[in-house]
């Protein structure tokens, strides 16, 4: 399957409303990630945080109660960058 919804230059979904699990799966494949239940648990948690308007950081992962940071990187070797992409949410903002 190819992903035929609008994406940014870096491959993030332009609109979260376009997201569904299949699209998440396809994006994961682009990064050679095979999604498991644990992966989805993290993805759901990320989506909840964004809905609550919370900023994501490595520190927030530590407090998530879903995974610890080591485990998080085992699941998503490119960390927040790729997990947010799979979750269909915006890329975490940096400063300047």
């Amino acid at each position: 399957m190819s992903i035929d919804v609008k994406r940014t230059d870096e491959g993030y979904l332009a609109n979260f409303s376009d997201w569904n699990k299949e699209i998440g799966n396809e994006i994961a494949k682009e990064d050679e990630i095979e999604m498991t239940d644990k992966h989805w648990e993290v993805i759901t948690w990320i989506q909840e945080q964004i809905k609550l308007g919370k900023a994501l950081s490595i520190r927030s992962i530590k407090k998530s109660g879903v995974v610890d940071i080591k485990e998080f990187y085992k699941l998503f070797p490119r960390g927040l960058k790729i997990s947010t992409k799979i979750a269909g949410v915006e890329k975490p903002k940096g400063c300047i």
Binding site: G79, G94, C95
Partner: protein, 410 residues
Amino acid sequence: MKQLLILGAGTSGTMMANHLVKKLNKNEWKITIIDQYKTHYYQPGFLFLPFDTYTEDQVKKKGNKFIPKGVNYIQTKIEQIFPKENKVKLENETINYDILIVATGCKIAPEEIEGMKGKNWQKNIFDFYTYEGSLALRNKLRDWKGGKMLIHITEMPIKCPVAPLEFAFLADSYFTKKGMRDKVEITYVTPLSGAFTKDKCSKSLTYLLDDKNINIETDFAIEHVDNENNKIVDYAEKELDYDLLVTVPTNMGDEVIEGSGMGDDLNFVPTHHNTLQSLENENVFVIGDATDVPASKAGSVAHFQAETLTDNILLYIAGKPLKEEFDGHANCFIETGFNKALLIDFNYEHEPVHGTFPFAGIGPLQLLKESVINHWGKLAFRWIYWNMLLKGIPIPFVGRNMSTKGKKLD
């Protein structure tokens, strides 16, 4: 008498004392300001101290010099805030307040990362975000023979987010002037996905790193420091060797915020982005590095906030609605080495762009472009800080809200 209490006499607290002493009715309001230290440090100077550009005396002065007459100054540690009871516990007394301004700033917390503040702290691992760290690093650099130098950011947010990059540029310049640049390998290590994560900055400024032969490691989320092998290791098990590690540890609000149950994970106080009122308590206001607002943590930002906050305190006293005015305005010089600097001017909404400042088409300062005049601007900032900023004197031609005049917006 009613009491307005300011916690912290750093950049923000001192500015608020100077603004409010002129505005509040002396027969009704008593203003008290509290800080633990005698000395007021010019923190932007900590960037220059390691390279022997500034001396110790240029970055510190006695704090009470800047507290205006008519303001009660207490030098002591603040132990706990009781926002529901409108009181603050100090070392030896408890003070009640009608209005509280939290200006306790933020500071480094190297103990957050395993091994960072270990046996090599201030031996081959240094910070430059404290006076002591910056001075120790200067002494180290004076006779360092060269090797691998990492300039590292632990996690965001940090105060003055461009300072580590400026440090890298100044290091390049410093070692070149000392005739030993070929003996030093400089690598900039960031948890972000680039040295400049905003698009226009990234496009205009990435050349600087190449030109100066500074390597960059992105997306590095540090897990621990290995003191036996002089390596930093990240969660993805990437390892980087160093001979000299210059790190910016995690920045956190003061413990008093945590102890009072008023902060987030990093002890920053949840604050309204535009009014600067605390989200929890209506008679508590927050300014400067202590807030959780998504603006840069910088002295210039605190200066713009202070103008809005002064108006809002007066509105609050008058029982009127607050102005939702603060727009995240920041105005920062970025030293690029060899006596040049860049200037950026931006806010919550607009990222830094090209143009002229403060006068459209004239300048004299150029936005997002290296120039010698910008460097003079940065050096002049020290004079402006001590003589204008702390006293709450508005900077001519630079308003509290960002102006789009002279900016090349899309």
